[in-house]
Every structure is written in C-alpha cells, then in structure tokens.
C-alpha cells in the first residue's frame, strides 16, 4: 500500500483550534502515518501555534490571508487542493464547517467522500452510521486518495499539549470572488460548546414556552457547568434556538452526562445523544421512550423535579 500521509484541515477561530479538531487528529493518527495539520485563517498564528502543540502532529501548514477570515468553502477548498500533492488522506471534522468544505475537495480530486466516520478499521475501511444511526455501515474506499469527515463523538480528543511540530508558512491561494461573507449572529455565552461539553442539560416540548425553558433549565445548567440543548419539538415550537437541537438533523453529542428534561425521546432525538456515557431522563410520562435508553429515570413533573435537583446539588 502507498505511504499513509494524513492532512487534517483544522477548525479554528484564528486564536486557537476548536475541540473538534482534536478528535479529528485522533482519527488521523489511527491511520498509522504522519499527521499534518492545515491552518487556513486570517491573523491565525495563535491557531497555528496551538496546532503545533497538539500531541502527534508532525507538521503544521499555515496559510494566512484575509480571504480565510470567514472560512468560505470556495477558498478553503482551493487552498487544500493547492497543497494536496503528497497526502493520502484528507480529514475534516464532521461539523457545519467541515461538512461544507470537504465534498468540494473530494469532487475536485474525483474521489468519493467517506462521511461521518465513527471508527477506523484500516486505512481504507471505516465504520459510519446510516439511516440516522439506525444502522452501521462498514465501507471501503476504492480510491487512492481518501477524503473523510470525522464524527467527533467517535474519537477521543488528542491531547492539546505535548507536541512540538514545525510550522511551515505556505502561499495562500487567491479569492474565488464568488462568495462574500455578510455577517453572523453567533450567540455569545459562557457555556461550553454543545458538541464538546462534558455535561448537557436538554429540554423538550414539555417545558411549554421559551420563558419556562430558560427559567427552569438555566439554573441547572449553571450549577452543573453544562451546555444547553433541546429536542426538535422544542426548537420547532420556538423554545430554543435552532443550533441547540440535538438529534439526527441537529447536533450529535456524547457527553459524560446528558440530562433529558421533558423530552419524550423520538428516534430522531435518540440518534443524536444515545452515545452519551450517562443518560438521565426526567419526565412525568413513565411510558416515554426516553426511559428505554436512560441509565437513571425519574418519573416526576419536571417543574417540581428540576428546582429540587438544583437545590440538592
């Protein structure tokens, strides 16, 4: 087999790398060859330095230019393609950003993409969930080059320190000129990121309103240092923002502790959280399907149980 040489396209905020990158690097290490990380950013020397310190990273390629400021897929994909020669595997985190960019790279390389891998079996064979996690497919790539997105919950994060990779500045590509960033509304809060949080407090339709959702769940999340999540029903009803949705079409999470409050446990929700280490369900309906996956179930009205829980922590 040809030499294995992995390029991980880092997700970062210019100052540092995002946690999802650490899980992606673990998947890359399991391929068995060298791991190089690409930081394409703007004013991103902090991120390049952070990438170089990650355990197991041999080299960091650093492309710094204004055109990468907002991670536009057209520009980042062009940068990856410009550097592609010599690499056998291209790995992205299966996040909104990674999923946006990676298929462009695969198509231009004329290879199939292996999406959302949860296990590396060999350098060309991987496991990935299909049908919203209701089945697991083992797939083998028939291409010489592999473009992969990595489901972060399938791999432990690589240690953020211990590495001392060299940082090589590379020539940035030009702007595609076809897409322009206009603005962003990113919620600012001190809570951990949903996909990398150790504890998640998640609410369902039983909360009844946006006000109640916040009033009941925020004190518990504060007490536990948890991220807040929601079921699709709660998001559809407008109780919580779209990007809080945990499930098949939302975020896939696997925290140490997942507290499902007033969530019935539709298949599409379970698909997003059933790999959590410990699941707690609080629901007054003892027949709710969520209890079939919960380690600890409490059949009680959430409006009395949650404040009581906050008090006893």
């Amino acid at each position: 087999m040809a030499e294995i040489n992995a390029l991980v396209i880092a997700e970062h905020d210019n100052a540092g790398v995002r946690p999802a990158t650490l899980n992606t690097i673990t998947a890359a290490k399991q391929l068995g060859g060298a791991v190089t990380v690409l930081i394409a950013g703007s004013g991103s020397s902090g991120a390049a330095g952070a990438a170089a310190a990650i355990d197991g990273v041999a080299k960091v390629l650093h492309a710094d230019a204004e055109i990468f400021a907002h991670g536009l897929a057209e520009n980042v994909a062009a940068q990856v393609l410009a550097l592609a020669s010599g690499y056998s595997h291209f790995l992205f985190a299966a996040t909104a950003s990674g999923k946006n960019i990676s298929p462009r790279v695969a198509a231009k390389l004329d290879v199939g993409q292996i999406s959302d891998i949860t296990k590396v079996i060999s350098p060309d064979t991987f496991e990935r969930p299909i049908y919203a996690g209701n089945a697991i497919a083992t797939v083998q790539s028939l291409d010489a080059l592999k473009v992969i997105t990595v489901r972060t919950t399938g791999f432990d994060p690589a240690p953020a320190t211990g590495g001392s990779a060299t940082i090589e500045a590379v020539q940035a590509v030009g702007d595609s000129g076809k897409a322009q960033f206009v603005g962003a509304e990113i919620a600012k809060n001190d809570r951990p990121e949903l996909t990398s949080a150790k504890i998640i407090v998640s609410g369902g339709r039983a909360l009844g309103s946006s006000d109640k959702f916040n009033e009941v769940l925020t004190p518990l999340a504060d007490k536990l240092g948890a991220a807040l999540g929601a079921s699709r029903a709660a998001v559809d009803a407008g109780y919580a923002p779209n990007d809080w949705q945990v499930g098949q079409t939302g975020k896939i999470v696997a925290p140490q502790l997942y507290v499902a409050i007033g969530i019935s446990g539709a298949i599409q929700h379970l698909a997003g959280m059933k790999d959590s280490k410990v699941i707690v369900a609080i629901n007054k309906d003892e027949e709710a399907p969520i209890f079939s996956v919960a380690d600890y179930g409490l059949v009680q009205d959430l409006f009395s149980a949650v404040p009581e829980l906050v008090k006893s922590l």
């Binding site: 999923k99 198509a107 083998q140 291409d143 897409a179 960033f181 922590l313």
Partner: protein, 249 residues
C-alpha cells in the same frame, strides 16, 4: 431564471429501517418510499421563488430507478414545471449524482440549484457541495433563509453556534436546512395537474457520465443496543446515584 431542484427517493422518514440478517444492507422491500424531506423543502423554496417572480421555471431532477418518477410527480404537484429523470438501476453515490447534475447544469443553465443538505438514507451531506465544485459555482449550504436579487443570492446559513449570512453570485448552489420553510400540502387538483406535466427520461450515458462506485459497502450491522437503566424514586436518589455510582457530578 431557471431553478434546478434535484430530489431523491428515500425510505419514508417515519419508517424504522431493519438491518437485513445477512448484513448486506437494510431491508427496503415493501417499505414506504417518499421524497427526501430536505429535498421537499428545496422544491417548496424554488416554487416560492417562482411565485415571488424571482424565477421563471422550476425543473425537478431525480437520478435513480424508474420509480423516482413518482417522486418527480410529487415535486410537480408542489409546483415544479417539468421534470427530468436520469434513470439508472445501479447504486448511485453522491459523486456520480453530482456529475450527472453537473451535466444537466451545463445543458439547462439554471441560475440557481436548490437541493437538500443531506438525504436521510445514506446521511452523506455531499451532493450539493460536490456539484458546486464540479460546476465551479459558489455554494451556500444549510440555508435557513434565501433571498434572490440583482444576480445574487443572500443566504442565511445554520452554522455551529448560530447563523451566518453569505452573498453568492448567481449561478449558485444552495442546500436546505430543516427550517427554511414548511412545505405545502399537495392538493388533489395539483396532483392531477402534475400528471400532465412534461417528464424527460435520460440515461447516464446520454449525459456522458461514468457513474461507477467509489465506495464499497462491506457490511451493514445493527448499532449497539443501549439497555434501559433503573428508575429512581426521587431527586435525592437521583443525586446519590450520580455522585456515588456514575460519578459524573
């Protein structure tokens, strides 16, 4: 401006699929098939753009078996003007579909291609981005709002942590997220009308596209089952379990 809307025929989202006992795949014999829900949102959005006067024609496309004609009829019942089926009995993977769509983009010259962000069967989330790359078009994926004016599309996208807005030059590729719109119910008169609309049937060879597979599925298995745990009588018992047994708080 024409809008091209690729749609995929998939197992209905209400069906709980079963893995075949021989591990070769999931059992889709005799299960209900429907349009991929994200593609339905794409058709609705295209039809709304036409109703607003931003587009003149909506063309639905599907790549797959003959029965995809039913999916295309549904798209035309929502309001697509005509349909193209690229008929192929072999498994079509996202790269192959993207190549077929690229050939149709060259032929039809749409100002916009709108399609679902992912199909709910293979969960790949690739085709739109691949098409954009092959056709050298800008992309705006995971859209929750689309506005078309002056040769550009302003698209609000669902990203990790919130929303972002991009302005892309047309022609462009947009993929839909869950909350872009709520597709209308199709009415009987519109279903009848859709039966009379034009449907062209092509073969991949007519478009000069090689649809070979790039991935081989070796095995399909059941996911590991998670057993139910215990019910606790009250909050105090729950806290005790979490502290001493699970040791997570």
């Amino acid at each position: 401006m024409k809008i091209l809307v690729p749609v995929k025929r998939v197992v209905d989202y209400n069906v709980k699929v079963r893995v075949k006992s021989d591990g070769t795949g999931v059992d889709i014999a005799n299960v209900k098939m429907s349009m991929n829900p994200f593609d339905e949102i794409a058709v609705e959005e295209a039809v709304r753009l036409k109703e607003k006067g931003a587009a003149t024609e909506v063309i639905a496309v599907s790549c797959g078996v003959q029965q995809c004609q039913e999916t295309l009829r549904t798209a035309m019942a929502i309001g697509a003007d005509r349909a193209i089926l690229v008929q192929c009995d072999d498994e079509l993977q996202p790269l192959a579909v993207a190549k077929l769509l690229k050939a149709l983009v060259d032929k039809e010259q749409p100002g916009l291609v709108i399609l679902g962000k992912q199909a709910i069967d293979d969960d790949c989330n690739q085709t739109g981005q691949m098409l954009a790359a092959l056709a050298d078009l800008p992309q705006a994926t995971f859209a929750s709002k689309v506005e078309v004016a002056d040769g550009h599309a302003s698209v609000t996208r669902e990203v990790d942590g919130g929303l972002e807005t991009l302005k892309v030059k047309l022609p462009a590729v947009v993929t839909t997220d869950l909350r872009l719109n709520e597709p209308r119910y199709v009415t009987l008169p519109n279903i009848m009308k859709a039966k009379k609309k034009q449907m062209d049937v092509l073969k991949p060879a007519d478009l000069g596209v090689d649809v070979k597979s790039h991935l081989r599925t070796l095995k399909v298995s059941e996911p590991p089952k998670r057993g139910a745990g215990v019910k606790v009588p009250d909050v105090a018992a729950l806290v005790a379990k979490l502290k001493t047994e699970a040791k997570v708080i």
